[in-house]
Amino acid sequence: MDKLMADLKEQIIAQLNLQDIKPEDIGDDQPLFVGGLGLDSIDGLELIVLMQQQYKIKLSNAEDGPKVFRSVRTMAAYITAHHAQAV
């Protein structure tokens, strides 16, 4: 899970073009959206694409986004759970 979270942080920075932010600047439990990193709805959509591209997981309902993407840890947990199912 730690490796996954580390990878996710790098991927998030790349996907969202978060210049001036390094992986170590993003806390495992730091809120990604409201407050926290301050991402918005467009970023949420980009993260949905990231999940598909990197982890082959499709989030069909945009409304699940806020829950799944609450933090890097919740993302990692979701991936771990669904990855297992997909396999």
Binding site: D40, S41, I42, L45, I48, V49, A62
Partner: protein
């Protein structure tokens, strides 16, 4: 600069009809034009309903009397603009300074996207004729040249408010005595680029859209073109028939909240509507009908509805979303819906919002769900709100 600007002619083509009469017939009979994709070669074919004009490119080109090699956006524009000019029946048009103010968002993208696969594989490949009219402005000029309009030609592109902006820009050119006659409105054709673009935003309904319904899930993309012929009072004096109505009010304001989402309280929408009322000298209570932007997305309808609640409450005019019939025609919607608004005044009719089962709980008003005749429709407000916070409202008034 406050001289009256009249609407002398209208023309429209959409998923519900290839001309004004057909569209009116469909509106009266509750016949939506939404269905499965037939023309675009896309993986989304059976998944995403759209509102296509019911003519393929060959049929459309024949109707437009233009080449099939041209962009569908231009073909649609030609059909509607030609209908509007014929409808206006201005005697000796050549004696007047005439302009063509058109709008679109897609430009020639339906053709450009056939160019790209070959071009991407090899920079010397791809047919140049498919890319030569890529620009939004090229589409406008193809039609301006066909109509023989030279005095002023331009193109506006501000997402979904585009053709509404074109209409009132045209009106201002008349008021400044730069032009006497302006064909103003807009056009947009479906393309894979647009379809996929909106799909990534996850605001498309995979069923038929339900504007202003509590359980709405998104919009259906449409295509079409709508134009009106605006004239000065000097030109109006030469007409055999009375003009339809006046363009009495207009305003553009910016929400400045987010690139694609509208502010929850609809700041930009409210400013646009209030501004249009101020321009027309009317009060909210003078408005008989609002043609809503009403796309069917959670965000737009919430935002637009809130703005209406704050501006019109406690007495609400009748209102409806004709996008429940035509889908969201993007750059064309301002023009298409302005034409419907003109016809509402002319015929004393109110359009329904289709598939509205559960009105939005938060609002103390309900959009109309039944087609109505013999209604006194003197002032109509039509809204067009686009990405980039671009909000435009127009008011049309009986002469």
């Amino acid at each position: 600069m406050n001289a009256p600007v009249y609407v002398a002619g209208v023309g429209v083509i959409s998923a519900i009809g290839n001309n004004t009469a057909e569209c009116l017939h469909a509106l009266e009979n509750g016949q939506a034009g939404i269905g499965e994709i037939t023309y675009l070669n896309t993986i989304h074919r059976s998944a995403i309903p759209v509102a296509e004009v019911k003519l393929n490119n060959e049929e459309l080109a024949a109707k437009a009397k233009l080449s099939t090699l041209l962009s569908r956006t231009a073909l649609l524009s030609s059909v509607a603009a030609t209908e509007a000019l014929l409808n206006a029946a201005i005697p000796e048009l050549s004696r007047w300074r005439t302009g063509f103010i058109s709008a679109n968002t897609a430009g020639g993208m339906d053709k450009s996207e056939t160019f790209f696969p070959a071009f991407l594989s090899d920079r010397y490949k791809g047919k140049l004729r498919d890319i030569i009219n890529h620009e939004c402005g090229s589409v406008t000029e193809l039609v301006a040249d066909q109509l023989g309009i030279k005095n002023y030609i331009t193109t506006i592109s501000t997402a979904c408010s585009s053709s509404a902006n074109a209409i009132f820009f045209g009106a201002r050119l008349i008021r400044h005595n730069m032009l006497d006659v302006v064909v103003a409105g807009g056009t947009d054709a479906l393309a894979k680029f647009t379809l996929n673009g909106f799909n990534t935003l996850m605001i498309l309904d995979h069923q038929y859209c339900k504007p202003f319904d509590e359980n709405r899930k998104g919009l259906n993309l449409g295509e079409g073109a709508g134009y009106m012929v605006l004239i000065s009072d000097r030109v109006a004096a030469t007409l055999k028939a009375n003009p339809y109505c006046r363009l009495s009010g207009y305003c553009n304001a910016n929400d400045a909240y987010h690139q694609t989402a509208s502010s929850p309280d609809g700041t930009g929408s409210m400013m646009a509507m209030q501004g249009a009322l101020n321009k027309s000298g009317l009060l909210p209570s003078d408005i008989d009908y609002i043609n809503l932007h009403g796309t069917g997305t959670q965000n737009n309808d919430q935002s637009e509805g809130t703005a209406i609640m704050n501006l019109f409450g406690p007495y609400y005019p009748k209102m409806s979303s004709t996008k429940s019939f035509t889908g969201h025609t993007l750059g064309a919607c301002g023009g298409v819906e302005a034409v419907f608004s003109v016809l509402a005044i002319k015929h004393g009719i109110i359009y329904p919002t289709l598939r509205l089962d559960t009105p939005i709980k938060d609002f103390p008003f309900v959009a109309e769900t039944i087609f109505q005749k013999n209604v006194a429709v003197n002032n109509v407000l039509t809204n067009s709100f686009g990405f980039g916070g671009n909000c435009t409202s127009l008011i049309l008034s009986k002469k």
